[in-house]
Symmetry: C2
Subunit: 272 residues, 2 copies
């Protein structure tokens, strides 16, 4: 039934948004490895009449470094096509005249180079990994609790992710910690925030109903996209688990083995 | 009105429970300093016909070290009179046959010496301070997420506390972090858990209505004691703030300047 839903809307599509980790490649030692058929699938989408953007919650590297890594894996992607939380946060900071205290990964700090950071009046946390020391979390807390109205931005709300040596705590866990400490609610920048998806749609100049999100994360990719009116397609690669197909609140518009199969179906239904 | 409430019940009391930090002493450099009149007040209570116990959420030292510190400040207190979360947790572990992975302060580890810790089937977090590194929190998370039914104990649920060099994050913040990461609810051992107050009452062999809690923390001391049927008296020392007297949900049965005044009133109403 769900399969039907997304297939009969394919002809109306004007753009496709791809999650990256778990859809294009699997992370691992070094740069990780491309998922079978995904390099060719991206090429075919780029050659089609569909617009294409990439959307990631990666906050352990600048987009430049991230795109360079994907280039080494064989993907032809430009920085301008990639939407990640850090540049989205920079836009918000500028709009609202905010100066952040940063608790992020060292490698993403350059994204904030052009932002005024003295006398901070908000806190931004990203997936800081080893930078999440007691001392650093305390420092972020002290900045927040010292503000008349604490403002906390979180670059994502993930619980954990998988690395070669096991599961690792993600930024959402520290977001919850600071929310409790200061009795505030964080503003989430990145998936699954509707604002984040809307910025991608605005860049393509299309309506939500004209866009399809393809991701391996049921809640953040599929659910996030659906919450702003897009269709959401789940791939059975990356962090996909069979239980995703019976999730209590989020139901994908369709489910395919991998990106290659998704692109096959998309282009076949469009006669390309 | 509230003042009347607690005064007319004084004659029925059989026991008093005192919070320690902020009631007996203020922490600070070295051992901290005794609060004016509190050493004499403890002496007078001990000489009265009321039973006396002490109740602390201190989890940065064993009770032995903690009592020794109070001795140096001039207080005559025995280890057996002091109730703290770590020994309460040890009792629970033994009752339920649980083997903990510990994420606690180095100085409280000896409280768990007699507990089997290999092949852990639960996690205990205390106020671990600098031990709350990303690596250590990940390790605790990995133990929890690897259990069929994750069991998390938290030695308190405080948000933060004050030290000489500023506010510091307390154990409750990391409890919330692990709760979110593993989608579990922690079992809180220590104030304000009713089970914790009940263990103190059981030790005195008296009913809740026969006991008065005196503390400086409206929610954890006063509210916690009230939630298990005790009276709760607030002192205006330690972390007391004037806004405590208009708290939306917790209302103290009475409010006095300090422990010395509380003991004056108690003993006067009992004709001692």
């Amino acid at each position: 039934m769900a399969e039907m839903d997304w297939k009969h809307t394919i002809r109306d599509l004007k753009g496709v948004v791809l999650d990256m980790c778990g859809v294009l490649y699997d992370s691992g030692e070094g740069d990780g490895v491309a998922i079978d058929g995904s390099i060719e699938a991206v090429k075919r989408l780029k050659a089609s009449d569909l617009q294409l953007r990439f959307c990631t919650n990666e906050t352990q590297a600048t987009r430049e470094k991230f795109v360079a890594k994907l280039g080494r894996l064989g993907f032809d992607i430009c920085v301008d096509e990639v939407f990640s939380p850090a540049p989205a946060a920079v836009t918000i900071l500028k709009e609202r005249g905010l100066r952040p205290h940063l608790l992020v990964h060292d490698d993403v700090v350059p994204e904030f180079d052009a932002v005024e950071k003295t006398d901070p009046n908000c806190v931004i946390i990203g997936d800081a990994a080893d930078n999440f020391s007691y001392q650093n979390l305390n420092k972020a807390f002290q900045v927040l609790i010292g503000l008349e109205k604490p403002i906390l931005f979180s670059l994502g709300r993930g619980r954990y992710y998988k690395e070669m040596d096991g599961l690792k705590l993600d930024v959402g866990v520290y977001m919850k910690a600071l929310e409790y400490a200061c009795d505030v609610e964080a503003e989430v920048v990145g998936k699954p925030s509707p604002v984040f998806f809307q910025s991608v749609l605005a860049d393509m100049g299309i309506q939500p109903s004209q866009a399809l999100m393809i991701g391996d994360d049921l809640v953040n990719d599929v659910g996030g996209a659906q919450s702003c009116g897009m269709r959401g397609l789940l791939v059975k690669t990356g962090k996909y688990r069979p239980s995703d197909e019976s999730h209590p609140t989020v139901k994908a518009d369709g489910c395919v083995d991998n990106l290659a199969e998704a692109v096959d179906i998309l282009l076949k239904h469009r006669g390309q």
